[in-house]
Symmetry: C2
Subunit: 462 residues, 2 copies
Amino acid sequence: MKNISNYVNENKDRFLNELIDLLKIPSISADSAYKKDVIHTSEVVKTRLEEAGCDHVEICETAGYPIVYGEKIIDKNLPTILVYGHYDVQPPDPLNLWNSPPFEPVIKKTEIHPDGAIFARGACDDKGQMYMHVKAMELMTKTNQLPCNVKFMIEGEEEVGSSNLAIFVKNNQEKLKNDVILISDTGMIAKDVPSITTGLRGLSYVEVEVTGPNRDLHSGLYGGAVANPINVLTKMIASLHDENNHITIPGFYDKVEELSKEERAEMAKAPFSLEAYKKSLDIDAVYGEAGYTTNERNSIRPTLDVNGIWGGYTGEGAKTVIASQAFAKISMRLVPNQDWEEITQLFKKHFESIAPKGVTVKVTPHHGGQGYVTPIDSIGYKAASKAYFDTFGKTPIPQRSGGSIPIVALFEQELKSKTILMGFGLDSDAIHSPNEHFGLFNYYKGIETIPLFYKYFTELSK
Amino acid sequence: MKNISNYVNENKDRFLNELIDLLKIPSISADSAYKKDVIHTSEVVKTRLEEAGCDHVEICETAGYPIVYGEKIIDKNLPTILVYGHYDVQPPDPLNLWNSPPFEPVIKKTEIHPDGAIFARGACDDKGQMYMHVKAMELMTKTNQLPCNVKFMIEGEEEVGSSNLAIFVKNNQEKLKNDVILISDTGMIAKDVPSITTGLRGLSYVEVEVTGPNRDLHSGLYGGAVANPINVLTKMIASLHDENNHITIPGFYDKVEELSKEERAEMAKAPFSLEAYKKSLDIDAVYGEAGYTTNERNSIRPTLDVNGIWGGYTGEGAKTVIASQAFAKISMRLVPNQDWEEITQLFKKHFESIAPKGVTVKVTPHHGGQGYVTPIDSIGYKAASKAYFDTFGKTPIPQRSGGSIPIVALFEQELKSKTILMGFGLDSDAIHSPNEHFGLFNYYKGIETIPLFYKYFTELSK
């Protein structure tokens, strides 16, 4: 392909400013207070896809937030790439830990990003990575180099479980027909170590509620005589892991795929420094399931983490109260073969069963999704590998990610096509955390690498 | 004493309206946002004491909120009663559980209070009970029946530990010299069962903080590989009780006073229905330390309760995050002979010692106080007993309370005088809870009973 880097260089300021405009809109799908902003974001994405050269761009309404669809069909006989991404973002709190407001993007140099990185909620997950595809599309159309057909499907509910996208996909199999699905919503091992994500963890996210007395009580008059919902909740949550940090929910591990010695040896080759890892987090030790390495714990092993807990008096000073209720949000990361709906039921059954007398327990499933593994001998994987080699000068490393993109397993099931996960973010980019950012180097590299994937996927498909 | 009930009857509307005005001021000492209101409340109390006939009423400044002092010395040779109360109140949250705004008092009839009760934060604890003493003072002076000397000391930091009152008492032993201390900040067994509180539990209140990684992390990328501060906090708190609900802090029980069979048998005579107790709280079972009854668990046994817990994402929807920090407010109720400062140190030492690698733990003591027991053969107790008999037609039952008034032990230590706890509230009055209230019957009965205590205490002191 000609002049890819020239085109990127000539337009890099505009590419950046367009992304900044997109990042200024607080499209927080988890908080209904931002509904207007989320919908406005979908309209901006529609306009950008049209400008990039897509036809029939439409805002597809759902029971929740809309899905933006656009396509460019140049020849029915050529392969079709379906690009998926999301325009919604995670809530930014805790706000006090941001060095600059989450929706006022700023460019700052960092040790890892000497060319500068753009700091804003969604910079990496996923507005920045999604927008690389929009700009790559512009590049290919404006330079008359689009080698195949392309379809865009950009949703607004990825951070809350994509439940409406699932329905949309089931109802639009013909419209979404494709030969490969291309997603940039994952990371790469390091700035100079390209990698392709070959596995994702599944997810089950639940909220639990423990109710004791019918009102808050004075801890002096009732302390020690009635079940304290907060104490009970801590005991129940604590019991979900044993002394080896194995999860104690009966049946939880039944379907977990155990990797072979060889596979684990292969994984262990990925460059990783435990010291640097601990230093980057300011921790004196890692912590996790006995018998597994850090890289195994956060990729091939299932986990259970409390994502939020609250109850009683949390304000300034002291209040001697026994709260009537206590709450927690709990998520489980699942590995291939674990069915998220089955795990959710196992959790519910177990958690309700360990409730002591004197309290009632309610478990409310939030959302979830299956894990996913993609083969490394597919045309899509090979095309991605060649594209990375051209732009990074290195063959990318296949890598299992600990993250979840619940929709990927569903894509394969409904659309019968494989997904290629070309991620350009870094673990240190703080996605889902305060001060999320995305390196400008990575942003532009992505825009250069994507067209090459189109080229090689078309060639290898012949 | 003449015409006590006549005077109360003739003035009951004014007595009620004055209390309502006092309850309208949100004097929340735990929340600095209400500083103005707390100070304003002290000024109103000063005026009311002057109107009731006190001399030399002054607002005594402290490092925190002021103490209102007033006195009436009629004859150096007569005994002196020191009345203590507090004008600050607990925070009202959770606000959504109040049926009427906490600082907009309303009168409503209830099953237990057919004559009506006044609903507002502080109605019972302690503005309502404190104001009974102001009105009893008015009654005695206006009807020229004050039989002895009286001193009032009304503070504004009881709900946050009375640390400045402690200093004030130490520095003003001569000014506060008295023969007995009279406090209405406790309850009675039932509306028709008067009781005198002969014991109070001590208190140690701490805040704990668990810090893991230096920032919130994506639970997919880091889940299972680093210590999750919330999971760790739940494990640490859960470990503070064993399977018999004994507290596991080494040395915690060393100085606990064990009651004799006889004393426990005596206690067991107090009217109590476990069924009614459970029904009033909507719980199917009580819960507590093995080997003790409900009444023992919340009076003669020490306890440990979490009063508040928070960490991670607690907003609407789902956020797959591992929080950098988790927090809890924990209070321990102590029994006589347990030293609160020693227990606080034992807690700190133990809690820090059980922190796993990968997190740091900080324990911050909030405040505390010693427990207290008063003999039932003192002049003060006998005077109170006779006063109750006159107004209720029944001899009051001596009762150990589970609550704490940290300052009482200090009074005895610094002022060398015993405290009589004449409480007129009911456990069901929901102090420290939403919809706190105080029965009008109890309010007026208190105003009638207090002057009789003055009378009998003076007579028995001759």
